[in-house]
């Protein structure tokens, strides 16, 4: 059975000037994870906001758990959990205060709300900081608490909008662990992300979105294949280019290509680290000492290059993401 179905969603902003969604359709099988992958401004957040009843589409239809999100939003709200890009909790209150409050708003009753709050804090390793104001939490803790708040009534369908954007690597790992636990519990999950590895780690299915359109759909393996997998790259002295190309081609099984300016020889490979060892052996045997050797995994940029033939338009922002959180925050607000 399909838990989430969206058909031909169109949504524009500023009186039609900005087309956030352009005939976007997707569906998620019950109990599975779909990742919506795309750069900032691709329409990911808009999809989530429509499916979680926060926004109405200009046209198109959608159901969540078999319920029409446009006709019966109040019923949809009873079966979904939403955790957005920002930790949507009251920062002056403690973690415990927040969860109890949300429990009351789900009409659990006082005792049940308290019990549920304690249980969730325990589960997300937040018991020690339960009585501290959220203001004092780290980014990762905030996100976990935010996620906990969206799980108060054990939703059938969960929406996570960029759950790890802005987190440090450790926070990210923790978040992944928590999400994987949830998925084992059988929840249907729709997750948006800018990171291919995140989609790879968590999702059964991936759709790649650009300019409000689905440009590719498949498992992460299928997508990577489409991108062409890993590339072996070797940089050498001008004198050794010819023999290096030979060696790389031998390891790859494909013709090697050359970036003359950078003196970089590269070719697609499928054997991962083994290819690295092989090529080093061959070069060593020939007495060539490479200046640089690398195995490049496909990035979101590569996915875009290969799927659309253009670099993700928010290239600048993608670079900012790598540099730090601050700029990232500004660009997030736009998406």
């Amino acid at each position: 059975m399909k838990s989430i179905v969206a058909e031909h969603l169109v949504r524009t902003y500023r009186n039609g000037e900005v087309k956030a969604l352009d005939d976007l359709s997707l569906d998620v099988e019950e109990g599975t994870v779909l990742s919506v992958l795309g750069p900032n401004g691709a329409g990911k957040t808009t999809v989530v906001r429509i499916l979680s009843t926060l926004l109405t589409p200009d046209s198109g239809s959608a159901t969540v758990g078999g319920i029409d999100v446009i006709k019966h939003p109040e019923k949809v709200r009873e079966i979904i959990g939403l955790s957005g890009q920002y930790a949507a909790v009251d920062e002056t209150l403690t973690g415990w205060d927040n969860l109890v409050m949300f429990g009351r708003l789900y009409h659990l009753g006082k005792k049940a709300s308290i019990a549920r709050a304690d249980e969730l804090l325990e589960r997300f390793s937040l018991t020690d900081s339960a009585r501290r104001p959220i203001k004092t939490y780290s980014g990762g803790m905030r996100r976990r608490l935010d996620l906990a708040a969206s799980l108060i009534v054990q939703p059938k369908v969960l929406f996570l909008d960029e759950p790890t954007t802005g987190l440090d690597p450790r926070g990210r790992q923790e978040m992944w662990g928590v999400i994987e636990e949830l998925v084992k519990g059988g929840v249907t999950l729709l997750l948006t992300t800018q990171y291919l590895d995140e989609a790879d780690q968590l999702a059964d299915d991936i759709i790649v979105v650009d300019h409000g359109k689905v440009i590719a759909r498949g498992t992460s393996d299928a997508l990577k294949k489409q991108v062409g997998g890993e590339r072996l790259e070797v940089v050498v002295d001008q004198a050794h280019i010819a023999s290096t190309m030979e060696a790389v081609a031998k390891v790859s099984g494909h013709a090697a290509s050359l970036d003359e300016g950078l003196r970089k020889v590269s070719a697609p490979v499928t054997t991962g680290a083994t290819a690295l060892i092989e090529v080093l052996r061959l070069l060593d045997a020939a007495g060539i000492h490479p200046l640089d050797v690398a195995l490049k995994r496909p990035s979101l940029d590569d996915v875009f290059m290969s799927l659309t033939g253009h670099v993700a338009e928010d290239q600048v922002i993608v670079i900012d993401n790598a540099r730090g959180k601050k700029k990232n925050k500004n660009s997030e607000a736009k998406s």
Binding site: T53, L82, Y86, F102, R104, Y106
Partner: protein
């Protein structure tokens, strides 16, 4: 029934916030008390009222009304902060009544006013304020003040939902409330103003509220009306009309705006 319960949960949230950050409550009471002291001792000596009780008798109703008018800013910036932090999205994705959040907030701000007015009343008493009308009328005056604050709270809700940034909302609300409270009979007689301003001051809801409170506290002096106009003759009735009109406009408008918030 659920809607009311939801609203009360939101109100409780605000009280919890005050308990967690008590400085907010302390400063929101210190400020009006400071106004009481400043006006009482800075202007009190130079404004002759002709009343036996002196300036402080006229001043207190004015400051009470001014303080309740500032509820507008408090509500607006509190709500705007929720909006910008994404908290509103969470509330809106919950299976609760659409009006619960805004109703809850106006109730919370109303409760805060109870505390603030009580502290101010006490401060006023210490510096010589002595209402002479009897307990019933004094109580009625305070109910009037709370109702006035509550109705302005709804204007604050609308302002908070309209703006993009909490700081902008705060500044904007002060831009509205400051002229509103000073272009009135709250602190000085309107008779000293240029003629056109006198009319504005006379019809200003703050003036009618101040005049109404003075009446309920047992004072005759309305700080001089420019003519025998309706608001100067019937400040109580006029204030009631203003509150009803404000609520009739801003409650539906705000609830509507809230359900559509972020749908632009």
């Amino acid at each position: 029934m659920n809607a009311l319960m939801d609203a009360l949960v939101i109100t409780k949230r605000q009280l919890l916030q005050l308990a967690r950050v008590p400085e907010v409550l302390i400063f929101s009471t210190i400020q009006p008390v400071m106004f009481v002291l400043l006006f009482r001792y800075v202007f009190g000596g130079s404004i002759a009222t002709g009343d036996p009780g002196g300036y402080v008798q006229l001043l207190m109703p004015g400051i009470f009304v001014q303080t309740t008018a500032f509820t507008l800013a408090a509500t607006a910036s509190g709500l705007a902060e929720d909006m910008t932090k994404g908290l509103i999205d969470r509330f809106r994705s919950l299976p609760i009544s659409r009006s619960a959040l805004v109703f809850g907030r106006t109730l919370g701000d109303g409760l805060l006013n109870v505390v603030v007015l009580a502290v101010m009343g006490l401060a006023g008493f210490i510096v010589g304020w002595r209402p002479s009308s009897g307990i019933f009328k004094i109580g009625l005056a305070f109910i009037f003040l709370l109702a006035f604050g509550y109705s302005l709270s709804w204007v604050g809700i609308f302002a908070g939902l309209s703006a993009r940034d909490a700081r902008v909302v705060q500044n904007m609300s002060f831009l509205i409330t400051f002229p509103l409270t000073f272009l009135s009979n709250a602190f000085a007689p309107t008779t000293g103003m240029p003629r056109p301003l006198q009319y504005v001051a006379e019809w200003n809801p703050v003036s009618t509220m101040v005049a109404a409170c003075r009446e309920l506290f047992g004072l005759q002096n309305h700080f001089g009306a420019t003519a025998n106009s309706f608001p100067s003759q019937h400040p109580l009735t006029m204030s009631l009309i203003y509150m009803v009109v404000i609520l009739a406009i801003f409650v539906p408008l705000s609830v509507r705006k809230y359900s559509r918030a972020n749908k632009k």
